[in-house]
């Protein structure tokens, strides 16, 4: 079951919010309700499920309701209608005490402008969540130090927040949220106030942290690149409503409507799509076959080189047709002509990096998993095709 379910949740601001809700149901637009009834629609009937351990990005321009939406998830703002289920329990039906318990144990938040307490040291800031739960001092100190170490701020615990740079302050914010060991992290434009290089580092570190800690992360951003970089799934918002929910690839390749399409048209695909998106099924033989078999296979498939793998599909190297025919004449074995230092990349390598490698290499680029097993092959034509926005181009062969 999803860890967090949002069902038909709306938030309207202003007197007569209930009436505004009915008007929304009758199909009135946000603009018309604002103009005629003086009611602001913050979030308009939003539904989605968030799975445990995923990074769910809510993205939209300013005024799209994303910051309101994230505050509905821990009831910093009271929803006007709908259900918010955490582990199946409705947040809206909870009393103050139950809500406090959820905020203490299950959901933590990281803020855009860090919101560190300026009168407390870094360590005291990180301890705050545990302090108010009356966890004893040595225990919460230990948890806080662990969280600080996790975000790379060991040794800074006695500084005051204003002695730290923006990036470091947000690490403190992150550590403060992690110290409670919550299941869900709400990150409200957490990296937007940082400069671009630091932001990139923080994004990478967040992904790394998430790999390690398996938290469920709800990440709010207005930056499409950021959404595409870190999101497992993205919900795109406009005027308080969710326009499309999907993986980064789905958003890019199958935009739900014109709005999404316009939104994503400027995206540099080479920074989003990875090797696994464009790789082809590789042609390979095992090492115990001779050059003759290899040549035959290449002729049959119309290709000029061939990967060599062992029985566990582990990549050993590559052979070219030229070398293979030479070997056949001189009665040499496949081992003798095997090129073992050909380029290989992981499935998550971005296209823009592939570009350079494919253009410099004479042999095709192999995609291998963490255990060195052959997963696919990158063909230059396919890379170009993907950048041009084509979906799978079956016509391209393995030839580099």
């Amino acid at each position: 079951m999803a860890i967090l379910q949002v069902k038909n949740v709306s938030k309207l601001f202003g007197p007569g919010a209930e009436q505004g809700l009915q008007l929304l149901e009758q199909g009135w637009s946000k603009a018309r309700i604002a103009k005629e009834k003086n009611i602001t629609v913050g979030v308009n009937r939003v539904s989605f499920d968030i799975q445990e351990g995923e990074i769910f990005v809510i993205m939209g321009l300013s005024g799209s309701g994303k910051s309101t939406l994230v505050r509905l998830l821990n009831r910093l703002i009271e929803p006007t209608s709908g259900e918010i289920l955490i582990h199946g329990k409705d947040l809206r039906k909870m009393n103050k005490e139950q809500l406090r318990e959820v905020r203490r144990k299950t959901i933590s938040m990281v803020f855009q402008k860090f919101a560190l307490f300026p009168h407390r040291t870094v360590l005291d800031n990180v301890e705050y969540g545990l302090e108010i739960q009356k966890v004893n001092k040595s225990k919460r100190r230990e948890a806080a130090m662990k969280a600080l170490e996790l975000v790379g701020l060991k040794g800074w615990e006695d500084k005051m927040p204003d002695e730290l740079s923006g990036g470091m302050q947000q690490r403190v914010g992150l550590a403060r949220a992690l110290a409670n060991d919550p299941e869900i992290l709400l990150m409200d434009e957490a990296f937007s106030a940082l400069d671009p290089l630091i932001r990139r580092d923080m994004q990478d570190e967040l992904i790394e942290l998430q790999d390690k800690m398996k938290k469920t992360i709800v990440f709010i951003t207005h930056d499409l690149d950021e959404a595409l970089r870190i999101g497992d799934r993205i919900a795109l918002m406009k005027d308080g409503a969710v326009v499309q929910i999907g993986t980064p690839e789905e958003i890019l390749t199958q935009p739900a409507n014109d709005y999404v399409e316009r939104f994503v048209e400027d995206v540099d695909l080479s920074k989003v799509l990875t090797a696994s998106h464009v790789m082809r099924r590789p042609e390979a033989i095992t090492l115990d076959r001779g050059p003759r078999v290899a040549l035959e296979l290449m002729r049959e498939r119309g290709i000029s080189n061939l990967f060599v793998i062992d029985r566990a599909k582990k990549l050993l190297g590559v052979i070219t047709a030229e070398e293979a025919s030479d070997a056949m004449k001189n009665h040499r074995k496949l081992e003798d002509i095997l090129i073992t230092d050909g380029p290989r990349v992981g499935p998550d390598t971005l296209l823009n990096e592939l570009f350079e490698i494919t253009s410099m290499s004479k042999v095709p680029l192999a995609v291998v998993d963490d255990n060195g097993r052959l997963m696919g092959v990158i063909v230059r034509g396919a890379v170009l095709g993907a950048l041009a926005g084509e979906s799978k181009n079956e016509g391209v062969t393995q030839d580099a």
Binding site: A115, F117, G129, E131, I132
Partner: protein, 277 residues
């Protein structure tokens, strides 16, 4: 159109209150008198020189050498001029009125910061208290609490409490919304949010209010002496009514010295705390 009989209304109101709540007023009178006497006893307990040494040590602990020097010289002058007992009883009056103002004013300020309705009621009352000439409420104070130090304390509190309330409210309202939101997001109770986040951050502003309150209390001592509060104010009052210019100046100087020392002490208490943190 006939004149509104406001004056006679107020007269009967005061009379009615005096009759009806006399037990209550007596209790308050008893408590306040007790506090003032307690402070006077404590201040008069050590020899003046010992008291000056204690003050000097305190000033030094606040980390201010000039303040230490000023305190020592200032109080030596007071002792030399022969106003020591009067100064101590004035100090007791000021500290009692100051404490009452803090004890009542800080919670009222917090309440006004939290509740719009409360602040809509409290703020006009504060304006009223600050602008109504002190003599006007001095008389009902005498009616309720009879002559002596108690109506003086009450009048001082009425005159001096507004800055504490106003600046407590302001200090809490100035705490950024993101910080209170963060406190909420981590599951703070309202008490935890108030004591761990809002009050510490409001502290500089709040302390400015308390400082102002104490200064205003001191400025009331001469007026308070008119209704029988003993102390340095009474000396000033007597000197002025008897046209003793020199004596009036001496007593006035003692008030000034006390004022400067109290001002610097209350200003620095918070700063030192912050440095120590």
């Amino acid at each position: 159109m006939p004149k509104i009989p406001l004056a006679s209304w107020i007269d009967s109101l005061v009379e009615w209150m005096g009759d009806t709540f006399s037990g209550f007023f007596n209790a308050i009178s008893f408590i306040i008198e007790g506090i003032v006497e307690f402070f006077t006893d404590v201040f008069m307990l050590p020899h003046p020189y010992l008291f000056i040494v204690i003050l000097a040590v305190l000033a030094y602990l606040l980390g201010r050498l000039p303040l230490t020097l000023f305190t020592v010289i200032g109080f030596l002058i007071i002792e030399n001029l022969g106003y020591w007992p009067q100064t101590m009883s004035t100090l007791s009056l000021v500290i009692t009125a100051g404490l009452i103002s803090i004890v009542l004013g800080v919670p009222l300020g917090i309440w006004a910061a939290y509740s719009k309705t409360a602040s809509r009621i409290i703020i006009p009352i504060l304006d009223f208290m600050q602008t109504m000439p002190a003599f006007v409420y001095l008389l009902p104070a005498v009616t309720f609490f009879s002559l002596g130090v108690v109506p003086g304390v009450i009048a001082s509190v009425i005159f001096a409490i507004p800055p504490t309330i106003r600046l407590t409210r302001l200090g809490i309202m100035q705490v950024s919304g993101e910080l209170t939101e963060a406190a909420d997001a981590f599951g703070s109770t309202s008490g935890q949010k108030l004591f761990k986040v809002q009050l510490p951050l409001a502290m500089p502003t709040l302390m400015a209010g308390i400082n102002q309150t104490i200064m205003l209390c001191l400025s009331m001592v001469v007026i308070a002496s008119m209704i029988g509060a003993q102390g340095i104010g009474a000396e000033v009052y007597r000197a002025v009514t008897q046209l003793q210019i020199g004596k009036g100046f001496e007593a006035g100087l003692a008030v000034v010295i006390l004022a400067i020392v109290l001002d610097r002490f209350t200003q620095n208490i918070f700063k030192t705390k912050k440095r120590g943190a």
